[in-house]
Symmetry: none
Subunit: 402 residues, 2 copies
């Protein structure tokens, strides 16, 4: 299927907006889901004149992480490309990764007598993280043949990139996490799973040792734990595949990182929904596709805060008229997965999707919710079909066959 | 996809019940299907608070036999593995098959002047079958290099296994049925379709000849017809794939045989629905997954007995409160295929399915029937997705990706 789409692509000046309410899908509490409980007159009115349905992010029963969840709605079958957690983190922190790189998601941790006492070093302030990471970078610039690049994240998190002199063989990143996942245990040693990954394991081990020496008098961040050691997957860009010059508008680093992986431009953005829409307005002329990420819907879902999740959806509803005033040719509203407040975590449930476009049936859903979208013309379908439908509605897909 | 599920499996102590009303799907007679005509207050109430939908056993338009029908609902794509009828029959009769075996489903038949007079020898009593089969076993223990193992079934049916000294090459079972399918015709000769199957054809021919000599003075069972000559497919077990210790509760041999093929425990069970549920209750602690097979729904469908099929469904409905009192974490009610009384045979129609589980929307179907399930949150989907949804609802599937 996806090879077919690529062959039929033609470019034009239409604009596609994709608003991703992260984790928007939910489950009933006292009979209503978060979307059903939210007062969303604008979304409901739009749903009545849009194509609606439910998308399956990966497959029936599969709960996606943020990586697979976003790949799907960007038109990529998430089963075809695997994105390591280290890669996502590094991209989100603004590091431009190459095929010579191995990225690692690190935690500052507290170690005592060889045992992990706190896997997150008491969630040290981001400022402290920056100071420590700057110091590590100053003292560790090279280990054996690899350049070492540090980048601080939020609280206890930071990323490290091992940059080798030449492109890496496949599976050079097959090295285990060193986080033992429980306190009171010693950190694990990075072990290579194959021949190619031996050099990465060797350098990771030296890195941990050097960092421990530098941090030994720190309190509480006296150690580092490594997770998600990974290379960049070779994914074709969204411009290569779909002919779309794409802009990601996302406040959180990980989502910009993910978008950058498929070649979207990902300038930093601050604020919340209103600021994101203002940013979209300012950059409207330069791009074809606009991915706007709204994180907090998922965050409240993960907190189990049903009410706050509903309120956040209402905030989006309030901004919807302004979004429509920008006159996108296609406006998609959906989520990358469900995060029912009832479950306090990502789930496998199909996600409501609304495609406001010129060529739809409409008149099937009486609002934007799981149960109303089930009545819609899109049915239940895989997430990677959303983008082709948008492309078709903007005249960006030629006819197949004579 | 299925490789993905296997990678995400984690075990726990939850219980999944799958009640299979064999052939439950139907078609309208006087405006109502068998399910719609049945008075099923318990099923209807349960459907209102469950995930509902319709499953496609194999593919649109494909009418499944019992083998593919059950593989699908057990989470296996039936197009990936072919199960010969001989294999099913032998397994159902309690024969433990190996990779050295070819299994054959046989009928006692009546032959007169070289022509088949009755393909089932007047459906001789099972007792008579046992006596004849014991005699054949006594006189035929070996043919050429193959050990010969007989096992009596019900009425005119029995199974024969040809056990070779070493594992068989693939396609060693490519030998035609000898049943001419019509009376008044001579039985067919077993012919090999390729080089590998020559030895099986040779031994089958000798077997038929020897059996005819032994039975020549019998009346009416003076001959044997061979069908479904087949080797065991190499299917991973349900425990290997899904981490489920599984118990099959089925009265009829074929369904136990099928369950054994994917590694379920299959102790013999007597009685009907009530006895099956009692058996489930007694064995509740030992297993994770319980397949309970209710045969008669299909039997009445095949007889064209619309009323009796509806009554049998009502019998199940009456036992449902007792099943729910066992507090399964997930309860699935469905069929392996449709058997509309209108058609008197298996059909290709999607089959109603109800998944009673902790994390569902519910409130979409106002009863358990083909037309009500169509309104449900599962939509129309392939049967092999049922089990992953149950696994997700019991916390047996980890998140995919970061």
């Amino acid at each position: 299927m996806q090879g077919l789409i690529e062959k039929l692509i033609q470019r034009n000046n239409t604009k596609i907006f994709m608003f991703v309410l992260d984790g928007v899908g939910g489950l009933p509490v006292k009979g209503k889901t978060e979307l059903e409980a939210a007062h969303t007159p604008n979304l409901d009115e739009l749903a009545r004149r849009s194509a609606t349905g439910l998308h399956i992010p990966v497959e029936y029963g599969i709960t996606p992480g943020s990586g697979p969840g976003h790949l799907g709605i960007f038109g990529y079958n998430p089963q075809d490309w695997e994105i390591g957690r280290g890669v996502l983190e590094a991209l989100g922190l603004g590091i431009e990764l190459t095929d010579r790189d191995v990225a690692i998601r690190c935690n500052y941790a507290t170690i005592q007598e060889g045992l992990v006492k706190d896997r997150r070093a008491g969630r040290i302030p981001t400022e402290k993280n920056r100071a420590l990471t700057a110091r590590l970078q100053e003292e560790i610039r090279q280990i054996d043949e690899a350049e070492i690049i540090f980048s601080p994240g939020m609280e206890h998190r930071f990323a490290v990139v091992l940059r080798f002199p030449e492109p890496l063989e496949p599976d050079s990143d097959m090295v285990n996490d060193t986080d033992p996942q429980k306190v009171g245990k010693p950190p694990l040693k990075p072990e290579p799973a194959n021949h190619q990954s031996e050099r990465v394991a060797r350098i990771a081990e030296k890195l941990i040792k050097k960092a421990a020496e530098i941090l030994r008098d720190e309190e509480p961040a006296n150690y580092i734990l490594l997770r998600g050691i990974s290379q960049v997957p070779r994914i074709p860009t969204i411009e290569q595949r779909f002919g779309l010059r794409a802009l990601a508008i996302a406040v959180y680093p990980m989502y910009r990182g993910l978008a950058r992986l498929i070649g979207m431009d990902t300038p930093p953005v601050n604020g919340d929904i209103k600021e994101e829409v203002a940013f979209l307005r300012e950059n409207l002329q330069e791009y074809d596709f606009f991915f706007v990420h709204i994180k907090k819907v998922d965050s409240y879902g993960e907190d189990g805060n049903f009410e706050a999740k509903s309120r956040k959806i209402e905030e989006f509803d309030a901004v919807l008229p302004e979004i429509l005033s920008l006159k996108p040719d296609v406006l998609i509203v959906t989520g990358d997965h469900s995060t029912p407040a009832l479950m306090k975590e990502h789930s496998w449930h199909p996600v409501p999707v609304l495609i406001h476009a010129p060529y739809v049936l409409g008149g099937l859903s009486n609002g934007f919710s799981e149960r109303e979208c089930l009545k819609g013309e899109l049915g239940i379908f895989h997430a990677y079909h959303i983008l082709p439908i948008a492309l078709a509605n903007t005249g960006r897909l030629k006819k197949f066959g004579a």
